[in-house]
Symmetry: C2
Subunit: 291 residues, 2 copies
């Protein structure tokens, strides 16, 4: 085999990753664009359109290169407008990892002799309930237009789902404002409840937040709230719905005890994480925070 | 147009959903098998193989029927071995909702004049750290073989991820047993930390659990744990790694204070949920649980 000098003629404009030792060029296939991570893995984000016929050989070629390089986790993010590629990625040994509205993430663990250490998917949705207590021992309550309490005549505390990337205490402030127009500040977490199979196979964490109101005039949200008012705490606790449902009764009693100064909650304490981010640690801060 | 009497000849063995008023039969298309939910939605689980050419007309026909019936959320669960259908479902107006290893769930909100009230996807992963304190004021600690603490010489508490459907207190018992061989029972939650963008766009909740050991002989897990031992609490708190990382220092101090009886945590109290499930409410139970 001679070392050909005609390379520049044989090589198309693409980079040649697979030049043979004799100078001949194998089939020209570009690697997929990938970024490396700290755990020996690579991530491909298919942000531009590619036809299946172009994509599959590039994916296969890339996988064989990544194997040679000792890569571990292979991540493939397919935006929803590239969903024509999902089946091809699955056929190359990937499984689903997670999905959001606008993309699906697939993953393949390459090492054959090492257990998979890929991060697990998110398992919990997080919600809050806001116990807003004013100086007259009255609780801020709402009656919902729709949802699970419809027809129960139950005056409940404002509740809502914590948004992606949102702190629990901030979600409580936001939901109170959205549902009732009341400005309030977070005091502490009084209790939380974990439940399973809340939606599909997923679980739910619900945090009861004690809040201090900073305003008093209620403007109920038109789309979701039928009515909202300040209700004496005794009346709130003694509602028939509470008596029938253990979880609601217990939470109402905790709120009543807290109003009487006889329950200890967890304050939000800012601390720096191992990676230097500011995060909140919720704990009894020994200061006995009082309204 | 005459009312034909030759129907029985024209009609194949399939049910005819779309007979014209004149008795002629439109193209025969079966509805997809779907189950109804309490919220006016329908769910299709594509558990059996179907070719795209058969699937698309049935999906379109089903959607038009569901529209007529006033259905709201349309859910389409595609097992990973049916991933050839993903693109067709997206092209009919569905978006991704979530995915697990072996399936992807897509959804389409049908009502045009109502805001989408579909449940959000899970946003948090949940982890635990186990503060196991024995009668000699010693803490159960481990040194990990791999992971973020590698090379730090940090003796840490056993930690782990809460499995799908697992209670927080149960995960703490399991992880202590797996990593160290120690049997322990859950006492209370001392603190928890929320952090964001822990993996992809997802958040993380980490619960520090106080545990009472029921055995003392350590058998460290070979695959993950380099070493494990009982360490005096003072020595545990004063490790250099803690001093450099605010979150770790604060958690170590909370553990020290709890060992001295000066910190109040949240016990696990079983209560019944609105739907009658037994769930755990974590709160200060006013009993002052002591070791």
């Amino acid at each position: 085999m001679s070392t050909s000098s005609s390379e520049s003629v044989m090589v198309p404009t693409m980079a040649n990753e697979d030049r043979h030792v004799d100078g001949r060029v194998k089939e020209e296939i570009k690697l997929l664009n990938a970024t490396e991570d700290w755990f020996g893995g690579v991530t491909v984000v298919m942000s531009e359109h590619m036809e299946i016929a172009d994509f599959v050989p590039r994916l296969r070629h890339s996988i064989s290169k990544w194997k040679e390089q000792g890569k571990r986790g292979l991540w493939m993010e397919l935006p929803i407008n590239q969903s024509h590629l999902v089946d091809s990625v699955v056929k190359e040994g990937f499984r689903f990892h997670h999905a959001e509205s606008d993309y699906v993430m697939l993953v393949r663990w390459l090492p054959e002799d090492e257990p998979d250490t890929l991060p697990t998917n998110a398992s919990h949705r997080v919600g809050i309930g806001a116990f807003v207590l004013n100086g007259n021992n009255e609780v801020l309550v709402v009656m919902e237009k729709n949802g699970g309490f419809k027809g129960t005549e139950y005056w409940k505390m404002p509740t809502g789902v914590v948004d992606e990337g949102e702190d629990i205490y901030a979600a409580a402030v936001r939901e109170v404002k959205e549902e009732t127009g009341i400005d309030a500040e977070f005091v502490e977490i009084l209790a939380f409840r974990q439940s399973h199979k809340s939606f599909f196979s997923k679980s739910d964490l619900f945090f009861v937040c004690m809040m201090r109101p900073l305003s008093s005039n209620i403007t109920a949200q038109e789309s979701e709230i039928a009515a909202s008012k300040w209700m004496p705490i005794k009346e709130y606790v003694e509602q028939p719905y509470n008596k029938k449902h253990g979880q609601f009764q217990k939470v109402a009693e905790i709120c009543r005890d807290r109003a009487a100064g006889a329950h200890v909650g967890f304050s939000a304490v800012p601390v720096s994480s191992a990676s230097g981010k500011e995060v909140y640690l919720y704990c009894n801060n020994n200061k006995g925070s009082k309204l």
